[in-house]
Symmetry: C2
Subunit: 339 residues, 2 copies
């Protein structure tokens, strides 16, 4: 007779293997109705828990996953260091998965987690990710998960963020104090809540200084470096911007590229602020004024929350929220002095 497995139960009941496993282990995360359905079928098919499988599953554990768009960005590189500082202490492996800003890739990775490969997940979503279409809502119910930086507003889950609206407000006010009358914000996404919050702070600062917010005030840039370079060059020539807020590290570099191509002097022709944790920011020509995000601390806080949940199943993980402030570091790519 063929061995009856959790997978077979899952297929017959159209549930995930994680749900079956939790139902069999009487987890509080599973409804009574589902538990009854699972137990009834398990009894009918004479399912016997398999000690080797369960030991294999345990073996696949002591591991947390970090799902991020990329590592070629100091923010994520530092956040990983913060996460690993905690995981190391707990004796856990950290697996890093990259989505390369692809929503499809992200979904494939999330599906992989349903096999029980990892004990918990730390995630910063792609620029394409919108909560509604997403398997994330389901995953949050099945596995401990903490969102950091790029969170999904619509999903009830643990979140570690920075003060994006306030940081953008500060950056905009700093440009205006330096004489900018035509500032523009370069945004990486129309969907991400952090992008929308930065837009909000930018818009509020313009309003508070009687400057107009128009269709030309925000440029949405793709992940394609060459396309972004062309888009930027054209927009700067057409709109005569005098200040730019680049909301990612790559976009800050792209502005230096565009300024060089157009023979514009930073900061005299064009002031620049980058949201960035670049270790070379102070050695750039000119040195780059940055909104520096608390990347290490955000990673550390996210991991600390996750381990609390792994330690105690009664910890109300999805209700946890923490906002860690960013800092404006004034250097030579902008003209205003510190307040």
């Amino acid at each position: 007779m063929e061995n009856v497995t959790i997978r077979m139960l899952a297929e017959r009941l159209q549930l995930s293997t994680a749900t079956i496993s939790k139902a069999l282990n009487n987890s509080h995360e599973i409804s009574e109705e589902t538990k009854q359905r699972v137990l009834a079928l398990a009894a009918e098919l004479n399912y016997v828990p398999n000690p080797y499988a369960s030991s294999l599953r345990k073996k696949a554990s002591n591991t947390i996953a970090v799902v991020i768009p990329e590592v070629a960005d100091s923010f994520f590189a530092e956040a990983i260091n913060g996460i690993e500082s905690v995981a190391q202490e707990k004796g856990y492996h950290v697996l890093i998965y990259l989505t390369h800003e692809s929503f499809q890739k992200e979904q494939a990775i999330l599906r992989d987690f349903q096999s029980g490969r990892v004990d918990g997940v730390l995630i910063s979503v792609t620029t394409e990710t919108a909560a509604a279409q997403h398997g994330l809502e389901q995953l949050v119910k099945e596995i401990p998960i903490v969102f950091f930086d790029r969170v999904c507003e619509e999903i009830t889950a643990a979140k570690i963020t920075t003060d994006d609206a306030t940081a953008a407000y500060k950056a905009t006010t700093h440009l205006i104090a330096g004489g900018c009358r035509q500032p523009v914000m370069l945004s990486a996404s129309r969907h991400l809540s952090i992008s929308n919050k930065r837009t909000e702070g930018f818009r509020q600062a313009l309003a508070d200084h009687q400057l107009p917010f128009t269709a030309a005030s925000i440029i949405y840039c793709s992940n394609d470096t060459i396309a972004t370079h062309e888009l930027l060059k054209k927009a700067i020539q057409k709109e005569h911007y005098d200040g730019i807020i680049a909301t990612t590290e790559k976009l800050a570099t792209a502005v230096y590229e565009a300024a060089a191509a157009l023979h514009l002097q930073i900061p005299h022709d064009l002031q620049v602020i980058g949201f960035s944790n670049l270790s070379t920011a102070k050695f750039l020509n000119p040195s780059l004024t940055t909104i520096t995000q608390p990347a290490f601390d955000m990673g550390k806080a996210a991991a600390a929350l996750l381990f609390k949940a792994l330690k105690s199943s009664s910890f109300a993980l999805p209700e946890q929220q923490e906002v860690i402030p960013s800092t404006l570091l004034i250097r030579n790519s902008t003209l205003a002095a510190a307040d």
Copy 2:
């Protein structure tokens, strides 16, 4: 009666679970003698292969691991992109593990692979790793593995490297052509073969230009940023170096830090070449002359080899070697013109 598992067989025979599994599957990688020992014990204990365990094991697959020291370095960030460009096409997940230059952490990660979590491994070893003490030699026999960039010379295994000796020779010659008489090389390790090859190229270039190679010609720097900064400042003041070859990205940034602290002008007081893939190298003040390593192509080539081995068990993976050349990109941190 307790189920007999592969793990039990492994414990009884003092072999890894991977070896037992391969022996039971009649793998050519296992000696006849070992196969006989495994089969004899399996028969004695009435071992029955477990279909669920085997499916779980399969489920834990379609995955390759990348083991690297860190991601806060453009070389590794780009190499990952090269690796993922291949893995994506093959429908594989890529798990990234960081060693943070710790040999102990590396060993813990390698042990984790013996559970069959991944199908293959791409590795760039830590600055502490010396072949002799290492579990790597054993792992190479148990799982398909490709070394890239930081390889272990003493182990017979597939290796993708760049022309480190030639690149260091070129860098040194370039400094000498720009008037340097007291060049120094900053090295990250006394153990790594790539470090030793760079030393060799550096030494040869000095000899070919009748310059002495002394105890002060090489500085070994640790992974500790603050200690490196102090070490560099003191050494530059004491030895009056006029040219520096920084063999990692972090060391290049450290030289800019030290020069600023000592009020030395680059390139007039001190010329600098960095082994680096920094996207901001051309925007630094002054722009940084680099030995640019083919990071993306090295990652891609390493992944391509690994997938060949995963596709065909007769592919002689450990015999594969490829060297992809680096390029000298001359910018403003050095004085000599191009040849």
